[in-house]
Structure formats: C-alpha cells, structure tokens
C-alpha cells in the first residue's frame, strides 16, 4: 500500500499534472512537489506526486518493473504482471 511508482510529467496546469506512467496517462495532483517541471520525473502515490526523482533512477526502477513483467528479473517472479498492475493502482489518480 505504500508503494510509489515513477512517472514522467507530461503537462502541468496549476496544481494538476498529467503524467506518463508506464505508457498510461494519469491526472495527478502535484501540490506536494512544488517547482516540478514538464519532462521531470516524480514518484506517484494515491493520485499525488510525492517526490522528484532523477531520470536515471526512474528509468532504472521502470527497467526493473518491466523486467519483472517479462519474468526475467531474477527468474523467480511468478506474478510480475500482478506487481506491475498493483504499481499502477498504487500510483493511480484520476485515469484519463
């Protein structure tokens, strides 16, 4: 329940932003990460961005999530698809 997932900021309007989360567009409230700009990455949790994250770290995390999805992160991920799905739920705000 405390999982937050990296997402790239696509557009900003006041305190609202649209982020790209693994290919899905989501509306996210950006009030907890003031000063964030388009093209930067944030951690998203329960419809809010909670921290800025460097692009390289965000890509590394997504690399791991995607590797899980493909089932080859460690060879032990029996339910990686579920993990990616639950990451999406963890991050989801108002789906577009």
């Amino acid at each position: 329940m405390c999982l937050a997932v990296p997402a790239k900021v696509i557009s900003l309007e006041g305190e609202d932003g649209v982020v790209d989360l693994g290919g899905n567009r989501l509306s996210v409230r950006m009030a907890l990460t003031p000063g964030i700009r388009v093209d930067q990455w944030v951690l998203v949790h329960a419809g809010f961005s909670i921290a800025k994250i460097e692009t390289s770290d965000a890509l590394e995390t997504w690399g791991y999530l995607k590797a899980c999805y493909a089932g080859d992160a460690t060879g032990l991920d029996r339910d990686a698809d579920e993990m990616v799905a639950s990451s999406r739920v963890a991050a989801e705000g108002t789906a577009r």
Partner: protein
C-alpha cells in the same frame, strides 16, 4: 547488476559468519515483505539471518473496532463509503465491508482520496465517507483532500481517520520486554515523506541500527549488508541507502500539510493496542470533516478471533507457518485474519511465496 548482487551476497554471508549468532532484522513495510519474497532475497539469506516482518501493512494493523465503525457508517441510509480496495475483506466483529455491500451498502473502491471527494461533489444528495488508512506515504493525500474539501466547502464529505505513524510503532515494539530485534530495514516510501532523520531516536535511544532501503532486489540486499555491518561493529546510526528519493528531512511540503490538518493522537493498532501519539486526529479547524463526530458513531472494543495469531505475526513473534490455521482453514481465498486478507500481509506473502512453509504448517 548480477555482479553487484553477488558481491553483496558474499559480504552479507561474511558478516553474518563474523557475528556468529542469530541476527534478527525487522522490516516494517508491506512492500518490503512482498518484495523480499518475490525477488528471492529471502531464500538467499544466511541461515543465521532472520528477516522479520513487523507491523508494516496498514490494512493488517487497522484495529477491528475501526472496521466495525466503517461497517456502521456503511449501513446508515444515504451514506456512500469510499475506500482503498484492500479494506473490503478485512474481518470486523460482524462481517466485512464486502459482506455489507452484499447486503446493499453503497461502497465505492477508490485509488485516491481525491476520487472520494469527487464522488461527494457528484452526489450532493448523499453523504460520502472516505476511510483514511495508511502510513505517512498515504496520509498527505488524505490531508490535501480535506484541505480541498474545506476550500471548496463540500458539505457532504467526511473522513474516518485511522492513519498511523511508523516510528511510534517501532518504539512501542522496542519497549516490549521480550522483543529481540537487532536493527530495522526502514520503509523507503514512508521515508520519502518523513525523512531518514525521523529514525534517529530509534538508533540513539534504543541503540538499534536503522537503514532506509528501496524495493528492488539490489537495494534490499544493500540495506541488509549495511545493517549487518553496523551490527558487527556494535554501532547504531541511521543510514539512507535509498538516496534516489529519500532525503534526511523528507518532503517538507507534505509534512507541513500533515501538521496543518492533523494533530498527533493516541490510536489503537491491531495486536499492539493503544500506542500513544501513533496516529492522527483532525486539527480543531477540520473537525467538521470527522465522520465519527458527524454521524455520532461509537467506536467499540476489539474481539480478535482467538484462533487467529495475526497479533503475534504482526509483532514478529511467530512466523505464519506456526499458526495452526495457516494454509488449512486460512488461505487467501478463505482468509481468517487481516494478515491473510491483504496482499501485503505477512501471512498472504508466506502463502504465496513460501510453499515449503505451508507444508510445515499443514504438518503442525
């Protein structure tokens, strides 16, 4: 990456050998519980290293009386209860929210508190109650939503507040006489909000190493290596090995908002009972949004199922396979306690990833 993992494993083994006794490290985050299993980290730990799951799953530590209050609210006419999905199947005294829904209650599963507020805006004729559960990763979302409801004067929105604070729970555990813990793997995303400095009292007052770690296999293993290093040298301080998103002071904006909307208050935890200042009450200015006050709901007592040992599991005293019901009467399809209901519950994680333990449970 594999190379780095291998190096970390070698170091972990070497340090555990040097320590030469059982090492008990507790994680207090449901995401760590699941990630340690999923990544195979658990199965590569040295024999004398025990990774114990503490009270880190927000659903599991939610007291039964709170579920009962939520069910009472859901059974009122013209009330919509909006909740994160994990809460639906948690057993209360007389059933679960899911059962209440089958009886006709209007329950909506939401993935954000903002959705609950939107439901209130869309249904001005109904009252909408949001179930505010979760640790500090989640509570700022509730706080901001309450601020927004206050700003926009949404009169039919309220919150049943049961947010919890991680550090007071760790302190309460350490104050139990029979609790032997050598150090803590501290939760990554809670720490994004509260900052790694928040664990300083655990390290200084109780002499327990605290290491903040991420959720990928290498990040978890690295945190465990840093913990064993401190344990080996008899040191105790706070280390942050998840600097990509965790800072010493946390998210100042989120902490300010929490302080504005909530005041610290005593709260009751499943298995741990009432822990002083381990949760939030609404600040006086926002008490109009308190669902308990608005609907005059009385919060009763807990009557935990005596055969379910969730309490001991949450405290890290037993492992799930030591519960006679584990894998027999109690499975994710027929959960008896909250630790089996929540996908991040320790019993559910064991059931899913630790088949061999299930066999042991069936034998005992």
């Amino acid at each position: 990456m594999m190379h780095e993992m291998q190096k970390l494993r070698v170091e972990l083994n070497r340090r555990c050998d040097a320590i030469g006794r059982e090492i008990r490290v507790m994680e207090v985050c449901g995401t760590h519980t699941v990630a340690a299993f999923r990544s195979g980290i658990r199965s590569m730990l040295p024999d004398n290293f025990r990774l114990i799951s503490g009270p880190g799953c927000p659903v599991c530590v939610t007291a039964q009386r709170y579920i009962d209050a939520a069910i009472d609210l859901a059974s009122l006419p013209n009330v919509i209860v909006a909740t994160y999905g994990d809460m639906l199947r948690v057993p209360g005294l007389s059933g679960s929210l899911e059962k209440q829904r089958a009886k006709g209650a209007d329950l909506r599963v939401v993935t954000s508190a903002l959705r609950a507020l939107q439901i209130a805006r869309d249904h001005p004729e109904s009252e909408v109650v949001f179930l505010g559960v979760g640790f500090e990763t989640t509570s700022p979302a509730t706080a901001l939503t309450i601020l927004e409801a206050a700003r926009d004067q949404v009169p039919n929105f309220s919150v049943l507040v049961s947010h919890k604070l991680v550090v007071p729970a760790m302190v309460a555990l350490l104050e139990c006489d029979d609790m032997s813990i050598d150090g803590f793997l501290c939760p990554g995303h809670v720490s994004v909000i509260i900052g790694s400095n928040a664990y300083a009292p655990i390290a200084s007052r109780f002499g327990k190493p605290c290491v903040v770690g991420g959720f990928e296999p290498e990040q978890i293993l690295k945190a465990l290596v840093h913990l064993t290093r401190q344990i080996e040298y008899g040191e105790s301080y706070v280390e942050n090995v998840y600097p990509a998103v965790v800072t010493e002071s946390g998210n100042a904006t989120a902490m300010d908002i929490l302080r504005r909307v909530f005041v610290p208050g005593d709260t009751v935890w499943r298995a741990l009972g009432v822990i002083p200042m381990s949760g939030f009450d609404l600040a006086p200015e926002f008490q109009a949004f308190d669902a308990l006050r608005r609907f005059d709901i009385h919060v009763g007592e807990d009557f935990d199922n005596p055969s379910c040992r969730c309490g001991e599991v949450i405290l890290g005293r037993i492992e799930p396979c030591e519960c006679a019901l584990f894998g027999n009467e109690c499975t994710p399809l027929t959960p008896i306690g909250p630790c089996m209901v929540s996908s991040e519950g320790t019993c559910a994680a064991w059931f899913k990833y630790n088949r061999h333990a299930i066999a042991m449970g069936a034998r005992s």
